[in-house]
Structure formats: structure tokens, C-alpha cells
């Protein structure tokens, strides 16, 4: 996957960190201090559709160039920039009864993006 940089408009992963102190949640969430959420943004032209991680290999790149040359238009077509890898978020927090709870919430942190 590609991380968003500068003015790139292609599908990429944008980093986004939620600071629990800033949103007033630091009193009930003991650890971590924030949530590295991240999200996917950008365009998915036809020639990169169906390629999680964008350029999988030389052969798929050639095939997709062929697809692009025969397809009409360069954007849209139902392909979306979506998470292709995610990891869990571990939380240690107080519940309403002041019990301390530790859990791993699956699929919370976006690690990589690609075109669907």
C-alpha cells in the first residue's frame, strides 16, 4: 500500500490519530493514549482496480494497462479505495462499574489501502 504524500490523488493511506486526552476520554481509557485510526482516500482508475496494494507484479501491471487501454473513462466504474490490511486495537479501560477491562478490538487500525 501507499501512504498519502503531498498532492497525490491516487488511492493511499492517510494517517489519522485520535488523541484520547483531546476528546476527553483519557479518564476512562487507561491505555493507549490514542487511537491510530487511519483511513483510505484517493481515486481508483480502472487500470488499478482489483489490485489490493496497487502494483502486485509485473504481469498484473501489464494486464491492467491492457484493461485501461480498452476501458472507457479513467475513474469510477465501481472501484473503491478501501482498506486491504487492518490490525486490532488493544484497549485497557474502566467500565461503568470501575472494573478494568482489557480487550483487542479486531480490524480497527488501517494498515494498507488498495483499489477494490
Amino acid at each position: 500500500g501507499i501512504d498519502c504524500q503531498g498532492g497525490s490523488r491516487m488511492c493511499c493511506r492517510q494517517e489519522f490519530f485520535v488523541d484520547f486526552r483531546e476528546i476527553g476520554w483519557h479518564d476512562w481509557i487507561i491505555q493507549p493514549e490514542g487511537y491510530t485510526m487511519n483511513f483510505c482516500t484517493g481515486q481508483c482508475p480502472v487500470h488499478v482496480a482489483g489490485m489490493p496494494g496497487i502494483a502486485a507484479s509485473f504481469h498484473t501491471a501489464v494486464l491492467n494497462l491492457l484493461k485501461a487501454n480498452t476501458a472507457a473513462g479513467t475513474t469510477g466504474g465501481g472501484s473503491c479505495c478501501v482498506p486491504t490490511a487492518r490490525r486490532p486495537l488493544s484497549l485497557l479501560y474502566y467500565d461503568r462499574d470501575s472494573n478494568i477491562v482489557k480487550t483487542d478490538i479486531p480490524d480497527m487500525v488501517v494498515e494498507a489501502c488498495g483499489c477494490s
Binding site: 489519522f16 479518564d27 485510526m37 472501484s79 474502566y94 462499574d97 470501575s98 472494573n99 478494568i100 480487550t103
Partner: protein, 218 residues
Amino acid sequence: TPRADSQCLACGKHALDLESQRKLLLHLAKRSILDKLHLSQRPTLSRPVSRAALRTVLQRLHGPPQRVLPEADRGQEYEIISFAETGLSNINHTRLDFHFFSDRTAGGMEILQASLMFFVQLPPNTTWTLKVRVFVLGPRDASLTLATQRLLEVDASGWHQLLLGSEAQAACSQGHLTLELVPEGQVSQSSVILSGAARRPFMTARVRVGGKHRVRRH
């Protein structure tokens, strides 16, 4: 998700201004965490835990690694540390009340394992027998019923761990558990079970939400 006009929201064509985008993302982040924790809103702390108690508990919990279930067999699992309320204790017995969060129990909570940790202060070279009684709420009213009891020999001062059985696990699943620790025989000048800030009895539980109703896929 592609929109009706076959454009997807992530493509950047319908970009919001930076501040609106930030507000939206913060809202999504909060909603996502609360939903995944089965909480309707952020908890408001009614009984704050002292830093000393928290430090002690976390130091006590470096046990052996637990068996990891295959991904397909796992619901979302929680490890819960619940501090005991000891308000109705006296010298002759220590009563421990544990409460569990109702939002989670409403979703069906399966206790996989639960154990009690408590600190005992004994005179040197003595052995005490403790009777541990497990009480559960009656089926029709709020009265407590004795579910089971067992004897435990304690021969040294310090932290002790007691693995709780199915009756106690069932009570936890229903949101409330009461235990009584009664020293047998000898009369003491003060309680042998200590409950000061750093020695507050607590329970650890491993919990799976919605596990009872999961259908195993072959």
C-alpha cells in the same frame, strides 16, 4: 461502499473542508470504539480506583500466557479486573461484592475463567482455614442464595489466588457475584483479609461476548 452514481466516497470528489472532515472522523472513531465495546455511551466512572490499587493489580497479573483460540472460534474476548466492594464486612467475615457492566451482559456474556485474588495477613508460623462461600441472586427476587462453599488452607501472608467454579462464573454472567471469606476456628483481633487501597481484593475474568450463541462453521 460505492454510491448510486457509481462513485465511491473515498475517491475524494466529495471532499469536505478540513475541519468538517476532522469532526466527521472523530465522530466515526468514537462511534466505532463504543460499538465494538458494546457500549451505548462512554462510561461515567462512579467508583474511581486508586492508583495504588491499579498498580498492584497490574503487577500481580504477569501470569503464564493463555491459550490462544483459532480466529474462527473467537468472539471478541475481554479480560476484566473487578475490584471488590467490602462494605458489609466485619472481623469475623469478609464479604466481597462484584458488579459487572450491564451493557455487556445484555449481549450475552460467557465467562471462560474467573479467579479471586486476595491478600491475607497471618501471624508468623500459623495456618488458617478459610471457608469461601459463593452467593448468587435468587431467580425471582434480589435475595442472595448460597450456591456453593469450599475450604481453603492458607499458611502464609501475602496474595492468594482462588480459581472460581461454575456457580461463580454463572453469577458473573448475570452481572453480580457475592463471595464471603470466613476464617474457621480461631478468633482474631482483626480481619485477616486486608482491603486497603493497595491490597484490595479483586477478581480477574476472561470473558467472551456472544459466545454462547455462536454457530460453529465447518
